[in-house]
C-alpha cells in the first residue's frame, strides 16, 4: 500500500456548524486527516457522527445557511478548496473529485437518459464533442460492468435495477478521471449479493485507475474488506485512526472497542449475549469542552468531564483521542467512578 508520498487531500481543523432556530449544532469539530495517493480511507460512524457532513463540507454541498464552515483548510494537490471561487469549485466537483451517494434512486435524474447524465460532466469539464462523449460514456459503462453498454446509454434510470444504478453513479463519478473519489454509503441501500458485486467492482477499479477513495459507511464489515486505513468518527470528531488491520486487531478507543463487540459474527463461536453500548449518541449543541463519548464510556474518569481529548499517536499511523488510553494519564483502578 502507498505510504510516505505527498497527500492528495489534506484536511486541517475543519469545523462545520448548523445554525437553526433552536440553536447551533456543531456537526464537525476540528477534523483533520490526510488522504494519500491511491489509498482507500474508510470513514466509520453512526448517524449523526459527522462523517457525511465532513465530506459534503469539502465540496460545499451543504445548503448554506443553515450550514456554515467556521474554519479549516482542505488542500487538494496543495490548493485550498474551501477558498475556491464558484467557477473553480465547479471544476472540482465531478472533475477532480467524484462523488457517489447512498441512494442511486434519488441521485440520478429520472427525466434524463443515463447516457445524457454520464456525458454531462464529459462535455462540461473536458469539453468533449457529443460523439467523443458518447464513446467515452460507452467505455465507462463497460468499465463498471454494464452489458450492452452502447444501447443502454439511451435508457432511463428506472430501466436499471438498484445495483446497476449504483454502477451508473460510479461511472459518472469516474467520468473525468478524478484524483479523489468520495463514496458516501454507496452500498448501504443494496442487498448483500449486489453489495458484494459493487465491492468487487471498486476493488478492481482501484487497481486499474489508481485513484484515492474515501469510503463513508456505518458497516464495519464493509470497511474490513476494502479499506487501507480507517477513521472512526464520534460526536463530530475523529475518535481513532489506524491502518485497517491494526484497528481491528488492536482497537484503542473505548468506542471502537465497544462497537466491534456489539456486532454478532457470521463464523466462529456464537456469542451468548451481545455487548451493549448503553445510552444514545450525543447531540452536539455546543462546541465540545469534554469527551463526547464520556456518557457511554465504561472507563470514564474525572479528566474526561473537563477536557476534550486530542488525537494522539500510539504507534506509527495509529492515533486515538482518549484520556484513558494515554499512558500514565488514567487513574488507578479504584479511582474510576462508575
Amino acid at each position: 500500500m502507498p505510504n510516505g508520498a505527498q497527500p492528495v487531500l489534506d484536511v486541517r481543523g475543519l469545523k462545520t456548524v448548523f445554525r437553526t432556530r433552536a440553536g447551533e449544532i456543531h456537526a464537525v469539530n476540528d477534523v483533520s486527516f490526510a488522504l494519500k495517493k491511491g489509498e482507500l480511507l474508510g470513514v466509520v460512524g453512526e448517524s449523526g457522527s459527522g462523517k457525511s457532513v465532513t465530506m459534503m463540507s469539502l465540496l460545499r454541498l451543504l445548503p448554506m445557511p443553515p450550514a456554515e464552515i467556521r474554519s479549516g483548510q482542505a488542500l487538494l494537490s496543495g490548493k485550498d478548496i474551501l477558498q475556491a471561487s464558484p467557477e473553480e469549485l465547479r471544476a472540482i466537483r465531478g472533475g477532480k473529485v467524484g462523488f457517489v451517494f447512498q441512494d442511486p434512486m434519488t441521485s440520478l435524474n429520472p427525466v434524463f437518459t443515463v447516457g445524457n447524465q454520464i456525458m454531462e460532466p464529459l462535455r462540461k469539464h473536458l469539453g468533449m464533442t457529443k460523439k467523443q462523449a458518447a464513446d467515452r460514456a460507452t467505455e465507462l459503462l463497460e468499465l463498471v460492468g454494464i452489458p450492452d453498454a452502447r444501447r443502454r446509454l439511451g435508457d432511463y434510470p428506472h430501466q436499471f435495477s438498484g445495483g446497476m444504478r449504483q454502477r451508473v453513479m460510479i461511472a459518472i463519478a469516474l467520468a473525468c478521471d478524478p484524483e479523489v473519489l468520495i463514496a458516501d454509503e454507496p452500498t448501504t441501500a443494496l442487498d448483500v449479493t449486489i453489495q458484494a458485486q459493487i465491492l468487487e467492482l471498486v476493488k478492481d477499479l482501484r487497481h486499474k485507475l489508481g485513484m484515492a477513495i474515501i469510503w463513508i459507511t456505518h458497516d464495519l464489515g464493509v470497511i474490513a474488506g476494502i479499506a487501507d486505513r480507517v477513521m472512526v468518527m464520534y460526536g463530530g470528531q475523529v475518535a481513532e485512526e489506524a491502518p485497517v488491520k491494526e484497528l481491528f486487531a488492536r482497537p484503542q478507543h473505548p468506542y471502537t472497542r465497544a462497537l466491534l463487540k456489539t456486532i454478532p459474527k457470521i463464523s466462529g463461536a456464537r456469542e451468548a449475549r451481545l455487548k451493549v453500548i448503553e445510552g444514545q449518541p450525543p447531540i452536539m449543541s455546543a462546541a465540545p469542552t469534554a469527551c463526547p463519548f464520556r456518557h457511554r464510556c465504561e472507563h470514564r474518569f474525572d479528566r474526561c468531564d473537563v477536557e476534550n481529548p486530542a488525537l494522539r499517536g500510539v504507534s506509527p499511523g495509529h492515533a486515538v483521542a482518549c484520556h484513558w488510553t494515554a499512558p500514565a494519564a488514567a487513574p488507578a483502578e479504584g479511582m474510576i467512578h462508575a
Binding site: E46, S47, S161, G163, M164, D191, V192, T193, I194, Q195, A196, Q197, L199, E200, H218, D219, L220, G221, V222, I223, A224, G225, V244, K245, F248, A258, L259, L260, T262, I263, P264, K265, I266, S267, R270, E271, R273, L274, K275, V276, I277, E278, Q280, P281
Partner: protein, 355 residues
Amino acid sequence: MLDASPQPLVQVDGLKMYFPIRSGLLRIHTGDVKAVDGVSFSIRAGETLGLVGESGCGKSTVGRALLRLYEPTAGKVVIDGEDVASLSTEKLRRKRPTMQMVFQDPQASLNPRMSVADIIAEPLDEHTNWPRAKKTERVYELLDAVGLNRRFANRFPHEFSGGQRQRIGIARALALNPKFIVCDEPIAALDVSIQAQVVNLLEDLQDKLGLTYLFISHDLSMVRHLADRVAVMYLGRIAELSPSADLYARPLHPYAEALLSAVNEPDPEIAARRNRIILKGDVPSPANPPKGCNFCTRCPKVFDLCRSVKPELTEVEPGRMVACHLYNDKTGTAGSTGRIGAQEHNQQTNQQGVS
C-alpha cells in the same frame, strides 16, 4: 418451554400470496406478482425461526400473510390449533391477541398524535373491558418490561430516539400476552450501537415470557445470533430451511451459500482470505419467475433439469430441508441427472477452493 408439545405452535402449509396486476382502462387482470409462491414451515413453541433473504424475496409478505394482514391466495396457517387463513372476521378478531407484530420502522408504525400510554393501551381498549386503573397498571408493567421509564408514559413518539421507539412498539405487541410475535426487520432502522440493545431485549422477553418469534431480517449475522432455525427465501420460495448452526457452518443450497459468502465479516484477516461467490445479475421479477427452479438464472451450479422442473423442499439430512436438484437424487424421474448434478457440485466446490 416446559410443555414440550409435539404439535408446533405455528404450522404453515403451501402458503401463496399473489398480488394481481391489472392493466388497461378496464383494469383487466393480466397477471400476478407471485410474492409468496408455496411456502411451508413450522415453528415450535418457544423457538425463534429466522427468515432471511434479499429485498423482494417475499419474506415480509410471509410475515404479514401469517397474521392475515393480507388475505392469502392459498394455503393454511395454523397458529395454536386454528387455521388463521380461513377464520371468520369475528373469530379472527378474537384470535388476534395470541399473535402480534413488531414493525420495521418505529417512526412510521407509531401514531405521532397518541401518547405512549395510549399507544400501548390501544390493544387493551380493543380486546378487554378492563377498568381504566387496571389498564394503566398494565401499561406501567409493560414499560418496565421493555426498559422504559414510567415517567415517559405521557410523552409522544417524537420525543424518543429510534431505539426507544422500537421499545414502545415491542411493549404494544406484548400488551395482550401474545404467544407468537412476528418481528419484521425490527432493528434494520437502528444504529449499530442501538441494535444490540433491542436484540438483547427481545431475547430477555422470550426467556421470561416463553414467546415464539418469527424473526424476519436481511442481517444474516444477527439472525445467526438470534435464531434456532433459519429459512432462506429466494423469489417467493424457501430455498433452504436448516438449524442455524448447520446452515452457517455448511450451507447446502447454492443460493444460501452465495448469500452467506457475501456477508462482510468485520475482520480484515478473514475478509482477505475468503472466497466470495459473486452472483451474476439481478433477481428476476416475481411477476414472471423463471421456469423450473427460481434460482436457475443466477445459480453457479445450474444444470439442465433446473431449467424445467421446480425443485421441492425436501429433507436431505436430518432436520435440513433444501429445495435443490443437486441434493434430490431420490426422486424417480430425476434420478440419474440428480447424481450427475451432485458430482458437478463437488467439482465446482473444489474449483472454488483452488481459485
